[in-house]
């Protein structure tokens, strides 16, 4: 039998991994799911609507750009990266934010900070964080009104219809009183009025281990976020370097200064479990596209994210700094990658050949 009909063969390797980009994205989404579902239960229908709107807008923005470039939209949307970007952004928003925050944020994330750079893999900055920072600077009021948890099964919780009204027509006067600043925002405001932490924290929204406090979806369910992150490490989607370095980067300086002056510096626990630190350490800073490629580079990057977050929270004007810190470190990623390289077999770190040793 002749085999002349075989088409021109390609070169080795003739086999490949079963892993795909879509599978990576799906795994990350699965790791996010428990924290998200818990957040849905905690903040009810408005949070669900905002999540749907943000994810849909991010995908719409991506589809629009692909159509504009005359590329097939469906297969690229199916890789899941746009949906994941929208998802991460939604987790960082105040759960009861109005619909247009989700729409603007989602479009901002995929159009201006991803497709404009050339699409998946080409953007320098984390799209979800670019969108969050843009929203925070443009709409500071809406982006800092946090609603307290009102679980789905609570009597006062808005039903599906009332939830729709909250998302699309704004907060009804009765529920308006429920909004408050986050712990970090409250502490910052009090500090600026000359009230130190020892007094202000007694009235602050308590740091709750089960997430029962005002905050974003990704903030309150801290333990579930961390569990999702650990699951991703076990599945080898991410390595430990960035999360561990980022958590240490914020916890170590916080612990030292808190020990010296507890009236002016918050404890390491408060820092780590407040704001977007856990979401940032496990899901945002670990974004492949915008973080360094080598283990040592990732340690530097993670530590930088943690340290900058702590610096911004402690001394800068904004109460929260994860998004700013991640964006600043994103800009350093190419530099870190060009300086920190793995040692090549048979060469030293500088690239010169080793001396033969018998």
């Amino acid at each position: 039998m002749s085999l002349h009909s075989i088409p021109a063969p390609v070169s080795a390797p003739h086999t490949t991994t079963a892993n795909t980009v879509s599978r990576v994205m799906a795994t990350v989404m699965l790791a996010l799911a428990p924290a998200t579902l818990f957040g849905f239960w905690l903040y009810g229908w408005p949070a669900i609507y905002l999540w749907v709107i943000t994810v849909a807008s991010a995908m719409l923005g991506e589809a629009f750009c692909l159509r504009l470039m005359q590329r097939p939209a469906t297969p690229i949307l199916m890789d899941g990266s746009a949906a994941l970007t929208g998802w991460l952004l939604a987790l960082s928003l105040p759960p009861w934010a109005p619909w247009w925050i989700g729409v603007l944020g989602g479009l901002f994330a995929t159009v201006l900070s991803k497709q404009v750079f050339g699409g998946l893999g080409q953007n320098l900055f984390n799209p979800a964080m670019v969108a969050r920072v843009a929203l925070l600077i443009s709409f500071p009021v809406q982006m800092t009104s946090w609603v307290g948890p009102l679980p789905l099964d609570a009597v006062t919780a808005p039903g599906p219809l009332a939830g729709l009204l909250i998302t699309f027509k704004g907060m009804p006067p009765g529920l308006d009183a429920m909004t408050s600043a986050s712990l970090l925002g409250f502490a910052k405001t009090e500090m600026s009025r000359g009230i130190d932490l020892l007094q202000s924290l007694t009235q602050a929204p308590a740091l709750s281990w089960i997430g029962s406090r005002p905050g974003s979806l990704g903030e309150t369910a801290g333990w579930l976020i961390a569990a999702g992150g650990v699951a991703m490490m076990a599945l080898r989607v991410i390595t430990w370097h960035i999360p561990v370095a980022m958590l240490l980067g914020i916890a170590v300086p916080a612990a030292i200064l808190h020990a010296i002056d507890p009236a002016h510096y918050m404890s390491a626990t408060t820092h780590v479990f407040s704001g977007g630190v856990l979401l940032g350490a496990f899901f945002i800073a670990t974004d492949y596209v915008t973080s360094p490629n080598t283990p040592r580079g990732q340690l530097i990057f993670g530590a930088g994210c943690g340290l900058l977050t702590w610096v911004i929270r402690t001394w800068a004007g904004y109460p929260e700094g994860v998004a700013f810190a991640v964006l600043l470190m994103n800009s350093l990623t190419p530099i870190i990658d060009s300086y920190v390289k793995p040692r090549i077999y048979g060469r030293d770190r500088k690239g010169t050949a080793l001396e033969p040793v018998k």
């Binding site: 002749s2 009909s5 075989i6 063969p9 080795a12 390797p13 980009v21 998946l120 973080s291 060469r347």
Partner: protein, 505 residues
């Protein structure tokens, strides 16, 4: 212990592809009935092609010399069966181009008569040089796929005083099990061959590295090596590319081969298990290398397993023997990670052929490449510590020198990066392309340098000749002038005399 081993001892490089070795590896070794016609290529090794010494129509015995080694690095070719030389001409080479190369065609007489062999009962009484000479004459080359003439490596090992022989039983390529089979069925030959090689290079110990996915081979080799404390069986983690020299040396000895240096410079030499068995046959039995074990595997093969076959058999005949489930969607010589795609089955089996894979349509499917998401999988997988994404980015932009700056030359083409990429970017293919381009450039540069040297030499020669001509002309003129002056002077000197004489007269 297990956890500590996993975290600290397990190599961080490499990939762990599904190995597909069983059930082919467990099937008993089968003998292929020698085919009616065989094609012995003259170039089955690294180095110069062998030079034919037989004529068409000549009768040869099994093991008779067909073509002699030619040049410093080369290996002879012997008759795999007894029969008649029917042609000396071109056949398709096992190369993706499908171009032809020279081969000697033998019509089998099915008598299976061997030449007179010269067995050695005590190889350890022979001088190491004699072992190298006999191994070279038997046409033994590296059977792991590198096909470097074994005798030349012996001489190198002896010269650099190598202390450790590493016997490579890694066989890390998925689907292949020919080395596994030779260790299970002929462990004594492998161990004896390894001891002969140790004697030839003057090594004190032999470390046999076998991946731990071959427990039967490890057990058989342990029994065969029991009487010889200097031969140590060392199971290594199953991880591709464990069978690569540099990675196996590092795993077994902790030594790193410096960049641009040879393994022998750090006191080790690597030989494959099948090569050791071939050395055993060449020395103890006096038999040249004319047969080998080949794995036939892949989804399109009906009865996958290992065959003992004469070299020069066509791939199609091997596939006929094991049967086909479907028309193979892809034929591969070697393993799926580094093997050569074959255009068709009318290609003869060569010394370095450890396996023939016939993939079905599903196995042959490689998804289309997508954008790089910078996940870093390739960087983690690279056993050499290179940065595949950076090199590929430079090569794609046509900046080959940029890729060289990332030490492209250290790439061993193992294919881990392309295998592990979730976007299925053909990374190692970029590197092979770039290496080819750089080699072409280098050759063009050498050629243009040679041309320039010739041109300069010509200009210089012409100038020199002109100079010499001018000088010669000047000299001649000077000589002439001198002669003229001399004659004039002589004339002047004689004339007065005559005058005087005349006057006297």
């Amino acid at each position: 212990m297990g956890l500590i081993e996993r975290f600290f001892k397990e190599p961080r490089w490499g990939v762990h592809p599904d190995d597909h070795k069983r059930p082919a590896a467990d099937a008993p070794l089968r003998m292929l009935p020698p085919p009616a016609r065989l094609y012995m290529p003259l170039h089955q090794h690294v180095g110069g092609a062998a030079r034919p010494i037989v004529l068409v129509g000549q009768k040869v015995l099994k093991g008779e010399l067909l073509a002699d080694a030619q040049g410093n690095i080369s290996a002879p070719i012997h008759a795999p069966v007894s029969g008649t030389i029917s042609a000396i001409g071109e056949v398709t080479a096992p190369h993706p181009s499908g171009l032809g190369f020279a081969a000697i065609t033998i019509d089998n007489d099915f008598a299976g008569r061997w030449i007179e062999t010269d067995p050695v009962s005590d190889p350890f009484a022979l001088a190491p040089e004699e072992i190298a000479r006999r191994t070279g004459k038997a046409g033994v080359v590296g059977l792991g796929g590198a096909t470097f003439p074994a005798a030349i490596k012996f001489a190198l090992g002896k010269r650099l005083q190598v202390g450790t022989l590493i016997v490579n039983g890694g066989e890390c390529e998925p689907y292949l099990s020919s080395d596994d089979r030779i260790m299970r069925d002929h462990a004594d030959q492998v161990i004896d061959g390894a001891r002969i090689v140790m004697h030839a290079i003057g090594a004190r110990e032999a470390l046999v590295g076998i991946e731990d996915n071959k427990p039967e081979a490890i057990a058989a080799m342990r029994i065969a090596a029991a009487p010889f404390p200097e031969v140590k069986i060392r199971p290594v983690p199953a991880r591709y590319p464990m069978g690569s020299d540099k990675q196996l040396i590092q795993t077994l000895t902790g030594k790193e081969v410096p960049a641009d240096a040879r393994a022998a410079e750090v006191g080790v030499l690597v030989h494959n298990v099948s090569t050791c068995a071939a050395v055993h046959k060449a020395i103890r039995l006096g038999q040249p290398l004319v047969e080998r074990i080949v794995t036939l595997n892949g989804g399109a093969v009906k009865t996958p397993g290992n065959l003992f076959v004469p070299l020069g058999t066509l791939v199609d005949e091997l596939l006929d023997f094991v049967g086909r489930v479907a028309t193979p969607a892809r034929l591969i010589l070697g393993g799926p990670m580094m093997g050569t795609p074959l255009l068709h089955g009318r290609i003869p089996l060569v010394k370095g052929a450890s396996g023939i894979l016939a993939f079905d349509a599903q196995e042959a499917l490689i998804p289309a490449a997508g954008p790089c998401i910078r996940c870093g999988s390739c960087t983690r997988a690279c056993p050499m510590g290179l940065l595949p994404i950076e090199m590929a980015a430079h090569i794609r932009a046509g900046d080959l020198d940029g890729a060289v700056g990332f030490h492209l030359s250290d790439c061993i083409s193992c294919g881990c990066c392309a295998y592990v990429c979730p976007s299925h970017i053909p990374l190692v293919q970029y590197f092979s392309h770039a290496k080819g381009e750089l080699m072409t450039k280098e050759r063009a540069k050498l050629r243009s340098e040679a041309t320039r040297r010739l041109a300069e030499a010509r200009v210089e020669r012409v100038e020199r000749e002109t100079r010499e001509k001018a000088a010669a002309a000047a000299r001649r003129k000077a000589e002439r002038d001198a002669a003229k002056a001399k004659t004039a002077a002589a004339a002047l000197a004689t004339t007065p005399v005559t005058q005087v004489e005349g006057e006297i007269a």
